[in-house]
């Protein structure tokens, strides 16, 4: 029999192990989410991240090694973003009709996200580098990373902040908007996409197809607006 350590070092050097682990962890997370009947706290992303994070810590595996395997999953974010054309196309007429409320909600939501994120962090003593990493956090990851680079932030930190933003939004959105008594699925989805990009959109798709379609649009529009707003607002806090 081969030394188990040899097998481990073989597995560690290829993408197979961590790609499989990523899918299995997600499968577990998704099962728990379904068993909980879609309770927002049992967010499948959060659950899989906890499982995988614990595994990495327990085995002393660096993130770079993990990402060798996980990159194949990560890569699909691009084609998945393109796929949002599908719900968008299916709802095109309703989207056109809602142009005015969407435009104003976009402006209000995007501005609130950037100003309050920077304002709160600034009040609590964040330095300029962190503020620059934080400014684009409501935009979808590839855009936010690009903006962060331009502003002198830390792109990999921005990726993490973007994801945390999405998870916070995905967990909080349903109970919060229910408490506010908002019933228009278009507005609920749209605002979620604006503030919590793709992770929020994934949550919206789980809750309601209309909300999902409008979340995809909100995410796309805020990707553009954040590119314009983030540098301007950051000026105020320098």
């Amino acid at each position: 029999m081969t030394d188990p350590l040899l097998i481990w070092s073989y597995l560690e050097s290829g993408p197979l192990l961590w790609l499989t682990a990523t899918l299995v962890a997600y499968w577990i997370g998704d099962r728990i989410f379904r068993l909980s009947r879609g309770k927002p706290w049992f967010n499948p992303v959060l659950l899989s991240v906890i499982v995988l994070g614990a595994l990495l810590l327990a085995t002393g595996t660096p993130y770079e090694t993990y990402f060798e395997g996980a990159q194949f999953v990560h890569f699909m974010l691009g084609p998945a973003t393109v796929s949002l054309a599908l719900p968008l196309h299916a709802n095109l007429k309703r989207v056109r009709r809602a142009a005015l409320p969407m435009a104003l909600a976009l402006l209000a939501g995007s501005l609130t996200a950037v100003v309050s994120a920077l304002g709160l962090a600034w009040l609590l003593g964040a330095d300029v580098g962190l503020l620059a990493s934080l400014a684009p956090k409501s935009a979808t990851a590839p855009v936010a990373i690009g903006i962060s680079e331009k502003l002198g932030g830390d792109p990999s930190m921005t990726a993490v902040l973007v994801l945390l933003t999405g998870m916070i939004g995905a967990i909080a959105v349903t109970p919060m908007l229910n408490a506010l008594g908002l019933r228009d699925w278009r507005g609920r989805g749209f605002a979620t996409g604006v503030a919590a990009h793709g992770v929020g959109t994934a949550r919206a798709l789980q809750v309601n197809p209309t909300a999902g379609a409008f979340a995809g649009i909100g995410m796309g529009m805020n990707a553009v607006l954040t590119g314009l707003l983030a540098p301007l607002v950051l000026q105020l806090f320098r």
Binding site: A98, A113, I168, A191
Partner: protein, 124 residues
């Protein structure tokens, strides 16, 4: 050719063109978002394109959450950087995200009501 393969080809080709156009013109719009807009136009023009993309696109969107897991694990890897500014980051992320969702949703609903813009197609 299996339908899934042609669907993947369409998505990748659109993304590829989106990335190239976004870079050539130095647009603030990222490649995939540009490609999404272009694909909506394409779908409106061609039923065939819509049929080609539908199976793969539905599959990807049904599993959209999965695709965020790798970056999420990155957050665990950067736990020490995050905890160094835990208070500022925590308050800022939670506060701004919740506030932005509320402000956005309330604005939408308020403007929609004010202008009589109801959602006719919404099934109860």
């Amino acid at each position: 050719m299996p339908a899934i393969v042609s669907g993947i080809i369409v998505l990748l080709l659109f993304q590829l063109c989106g990335e190239v156009v976004s870079r050539i013109f130095a647009l603030p719009l990222p490649g995939p978002v540009l490609a999404m807009v272009a694909l909506v136009v394409g779908m409106a023009l061609s039923e065939r394109l819509l049929a080609l993309v539908r199976p793969v696109a539905s599959f990807l969107l049904q599993n959209l959450s999965l695709l965020f897991v790798p970056v999420g694990v990155g957050a665990v890897a950067r736990l020490s950087d995050l905890s160094a500014h835990a208070l500022a980051i925590g308050v800022s992320l939670v506060g701004s995200t919740l506030l932005a969702i509320c402000v956005g949703a309330v604005t939408f609903e308020y403007v929609a009501r004010l202008t009589g813009n109801v959602d006719e197609e919404e099934e109860a």
